[in-house]
Symmetry: D4
């Protein structure tokens, strides 16, 4: 609820076109809808510039269906993340048009073409073969949010020449998402080569003292390349949201 909307409402109250009780009600109930297990937030797109997204992990089939239903009726496109193939298949029985992205573990329902909003390309760079699912989540999300998105893979720092050979693609991007596990050094090297915002995504890939992504997370937070920012472990979705906000015209 923006100040402009508040002012408009207050004006209406003053002019008597909106009674006080009704104004109170609108202040309270407009922006969301109760679907039994959740308050679906129809105004998030207005307020934050992107639609509410359903985090699938830990939610039951019927909960996801209820929330998707409320959003779909409102005409919104829908993205469900962290959803496995079985659950997705069951939900597709209710929403025939929904598309499952196996690598990314995402389900999308697009009722209208994603509006092209970005002013450039979001480039996703990933380190090893095992980091591909997180990179895929970032790609699906970035495109769902109306961006051009490209992918460079398997360019870990232990063979630095593989990365250096892709310099032109790095230079052409408007934002770069770098996905890496193990020691998480790739964002630093990328950040040192370009003058673009770099968003680092640590992955839980690795073993032993990788500690499920802590090593990569700490490596990225301590990057000696100024200008690198970090999101949560395996959070390809969050990185793509941030990249999308940055890529706005």
């Amino acid at each position: 609820m923006t100040p402009d909307q508040l002012k408009l409402l207050l004006d209406s109250v003053k002019e008597g076109t909106v009674p006080v009780e009704q104004a109170l009600e609108r202040l309270r109930q407009l922006p969301f809808q109760d679907v039994g297990c959740a308050q679906v937030d129809h105004h998030r797109e207005l307020r934050q510039g992107m639609p509410e997204v359903i985090f699938g992990e830990g939610k039951k089939d019927e909960q996801i269906i209820a929330i998707m239903g409320a959003m779909a009726e409102n005409g919104s496109n829908v993205l469900v993340t962290r959803i496995d193939a079985d659950k997705a298949q069951r939900i597709q029985r209710t929403f025939f048009g929904a598309l499952y992205h196996a690598n990314a573990r995402c389900l999308t329902l697009e009722q209208r073409p994603a509006e092209a909003k970005g002013r450039g390309t979001i480039l996703v760079v990933s380190a090893g073969t095992s980091d591909l699912p997180v990179a895929a989540e970032a790609l699906v999300t970035a495109r769902f949010l109306g961006n051009e998105a490209e992918h460079i893979y398997d360019v870990g720092v232990a063979g630095i020449h593989r990365l250096l050979a892709r310099h032109e693609e790095l230079a052409a991007a408007s934002v770069i998402i770098v996905v890496a596990g193990m020691e998480g050094a790739l964002p630093t090297v990328v950040g040192g080569l370009v003058d673009k915002p770099v968003i680092a995504v640590p992955t839980s890939i690795g073993y032993g003292a990788a500690f499920g992504g802590i090593a990569a997370l700490l490596g990225m937070l301590n990057s000696c390349a100024a200008g690198v920012t970090v999101v949560n472990i395996d959070n390809g979705f969050g990185a793509a949201c941030a990249a999308s906000l940055i890529n706005r015209a």
Copy 2:
């Protein structure tokens, strides 16, 4: 060293205007200068879009002076971060024009006006009075890098109305840096109100189970507001670098 530069050099070698040995030498020595304790990187501005900055902590007076000297001779503006008042005062005896920013613990030497590069305003929002120094570091850095920058302070989440009252300023920014210690919840609330990139800076403010900023850092990494990215604890400088890259025209 960009592919274009490499191509130019190879062309010159082919045409014979640059001998092979000299080409090798240029490939090796051009971009940095040895000052005894450091390799000053004069090409970082070209490569990364911002000049090399001196991290003052743990460096001796003579080391800072040597690096500043090499940069100053090259005509660059210079920023030294994490430098206390005593050390700054001693260094100002060599560089008369250097300016000390006490709150931010930064020293700047501006030989030419910072070139205005940003397309909008970087807004720094901080939670408590004790978070002011980190916010100040972000402000000084953002301005040094050629951005407009503003500040909203003392708007912690325990009194949420203080933040809501500043909604217009939040909406007017092109990037928002949110600085907070303790539970680090402020970036999430800000991120939920706006459609702008939000960079979260955890501070080491707090006590007991704040663990020197870990609580705030984890809070920010786990933000339920999609699109928030995070930098290292107390790293106002890094946040401003990222914000500056995002704010480019």
Copy 3:
């Protein structure tokens, strides 16, 4: 065993109505009953104001049945927490009147109506859909202990207006339990809006650097809203016990 009871016993010993050996025995054996794997504590209700509750996790069927049996014979109502549907079903074969609460993973056996003890309403506020089971455990427990209890759900801090719209319900409660995972910021925001005791329950919901609830736990312990207290991760039961003691007339 209270001082009053001790005095009474000593008086009886003095008067000779209770022999010394018998007094020793009563001091030793009165308050609990050995059921082979546990010492059932029949006096806890007198001493602590609430009956002993069975923590179901890691206990075998026969152990739960033995303890429930001893409590049921004593006329007590029984609550078993952290018990999955299969185990509950097997136990219901012995205790026909027992009721299973699937969301809360609790089993209750009420032999007499819960005595209404509370002076007001305990309000449970939860952040996301995935936090519902912990909230449910708190609700079942609060009601089992004789309190009125209500629930507000899906009011996470990234959409702060959803919470603000429920201000009246917040203001009407006598104690508020706030259940949240991820960054755990909700108790702080609630605590800043009301003048009621707030008990924060971190949940293990989240991924990556949520570390199974550590991020939320730290966030809540470092809350900048004075007056918030915290219980263990996912401990809806404990929060309800504390709320019940506070809600006593």
Copy 4:
């Protein structure tokens, strides 16, 4: 800002007694005052039932004086916590009536007698001699907020009879704050003896694997006595705020 106040304001707008612009302004500016480094929140007492308190650690003399000044002019009583003797003495030169509590490291300025609000006694129980300062902070805060408060000290669990001998005092309290370092077991034992809300405060006392209070904090969070809630390490102030809200009539 309560719904009642909002309704009153809307009524005034409707009746025309308050112009729209002025209503907007009041919604924005009423509750706090900018003193240069902080936004002093004059409505916290109305909203949260206790005045804003100044956390002294990390604040400069002039910052504390500015905030205290704004609060004092407003007629409020003032409490500054975590302030050492030297800083307190310098501030007392500006506020002659301020009183320093050395054990508790608190400074109070009482312009009117604390209004008696509690319905019973808050009892502070502490484990060892080294835990006294944290207990003292809790006592000073509890009394500042208008409560009766008493203290039992040096009753650690390794000599359990010392605690058992104080059973009557424990039973007479309306809320109990238990302060303990090292293994932090005291709240569990107290919680097992009484039917009152118990707030546990871990202290940073101990050495080696006490890890600055982590051992005590974990011990308290894992208390097997249902109904114990926990605050941050060394946070006597927070415990007293929570106890005060519970102790309200």
Copy 5:
């Protein structure tokens, strides 16, 4: 190999009854036997006062059988710990006389009655029903090593009177092993009541911030009862070994 044995060997060498090469060989090969996957240490009983025990976890059937075989042929009694029912059953097909202790997850093969070595009783005290398996491992081990051993169970500190009622048994023991999870406070309370060595065993029982036994472990290490020593989480076996060495005549 003790100094006495070394002296005897050297004397034999001097007297010529043992050739130098043979002495070298005995020094090298006597004390252990290679069974393909392990070096069975037949002298441990002489050297350390207790036979080598097989840690079953992570060992394959054939490895356990090979080691047991070598020990059995040597006439030793054998104890296998951390072995599940299925694996034990398969191994019993080779060693008919072996006995499986289901609660303790131990397998014993006693070829001769355990020699009674202890001068008193080892008392195992455990806190909750879920701690029983660890207590059982301690009991089986203590008896296997030739000690009298007794058990008191379900005497957690939240109902301190249950423990106080067993004071005579506590006082009669020569060593006390205290097994507890969650906050791990029981050893401190026991240690404060008796003048006997107390060995504390943290268990992995608990949830949330119990962190698989870390809370209990830290609580025990920080015990304010002097004289409590600690073993690894869930290490009932190790506690019984230590208790057995202490209980020697």
Copy 6:
């Protein structure tokens, strides 16, 4: 308060020689004395077999003097641990006979010769020169509690022959305390050579990933030598208390 004493008291109450009120009072007040900041526990020696000891760290001069005074008047010997030279010197002005042990940072006041209670020798083995203070604390405490105590130093595992050469002394001890920092492997090697109880004391000696003793603590808890028990980091005092209880006749 033992069951025998309780029985005697009950008999007296029955016979009328002790009135009920007085019995209650004795049950409550006998065993300790309030000295303003502490409850001095005069019965600990009876109950636990060793006198109360004053932990000096974090206590003020006057607090230590008050507690020492109460103990000295009662005729007890007094041990103060963790007390630096300056504080000790100030306290010696009140207690002329007190002796300061600089290496061990202990102060002792012996009013009567320590009663010889041990049945053998407590041997303290320490790894490096930097571990000497912790070893000294163990030695002073062991002797204060009436034991014979000896010391072997600088026998770290990186030069294993230094330890092997002292085999006879190891074999002659009745209990062995092993003090080591860094990787903390010495107790395992000692435990593998002898059939005596071994108490391991990790020290905070080391750097980097020694983490103030955590590495040594973990090493000792995971010792593959069965029968090793562990105390807190740097806790030479606690190790000596445990050793003393074990060494009792």
Copy 7:
């Protein structure tokens, strides 16, 4: 790409035998091959002295087959690590000559005999039976890389004589890899006996406070035997790579 190769290429460009565009292309594309999910690095053997190895964990069958295929076509020998028996069997259907090493969980495809490169023997020493798989991975890798490799097993520090008896084998090695879990003390003891490089491999073997290998890792990092270096938990492969580089003639 070495300087020599760069010089050769530049010479060719100068002489006109290689056109500029083609040189650019070679600089970019020579060293690796895109197989859809990975960039196979054919030059690693030239650059780093050992072929690229496939880390099998988390890779799908078709991914491993694609990478193996590219490497096999290039004539390379192939090593796949961390691959379970089922997956290996499926892959062997494509590569008939591939050999599965069950203990080591490795798959090797040797198209030509491994070139003997080592100047001495790599000795793998392991502590317990449960550490065998990690030791096996080290052995398979060392031999794959062209080294002589031997194994000593079950020589843990709790029976130090078992290790001392193998002194000649230790002295004869050129590099020693020491594999140990639990307290991880074996590398220190070995390092104290020999004048050879010792590479320590912590294993995740142990329980409770072993924390999946952290205890062993910290023990090894804090080794008091100078000259011990450490690799990641369970990283037998990495240890063998380092040993192989050291063992080069």
Copy 8:
């Protein structure tokens, strides 16, 4: 004590030239010397190939002097590490010929020229200016142990071209020690460029989530460049010892 020496001793005993008692004594006392606070190990050079080195931190002047004296009398060269300028100056009053290395915080006493033992050059590569002291400790140690040693500094991964330009020096080394703080990525990049053993030294340089070197340590342990081994945080000395053993002819 090697097997050869043992055989010789046994032969002498057999021939009667060495009495049994004297043989026992030699087995016990030969290799070290008691200087009151330490057992100086004169045979370490024979056994481990390098002299015992004194770790200065936490040792008193007189302790260092006693140990140095015993070593100097034996004709050994002496190295003291982790010693500050003041302590070094006081010790130089006793040992006139001792030389203090301020950057490295080392003191050396060379009574005879270091014997040249290495077959190649040890190259120390460091990342930032703040890492210089750790690199200096490695350099001083490597040279003290008889190796050629060189240094490349300020070649962090954020400006990867600075490192690539030094490729020839990297290729010419026989062992490379890489010193880096912050994210610790430099060893991985170096390890990917060369076919030489790389020893990584994490430094405690960095702030916030660098956690005193943990971030760098984890980064190095998780290096995706096979063949990198790691030593403790800031342990330049240990790295040089390992490099020296590797560099032996």
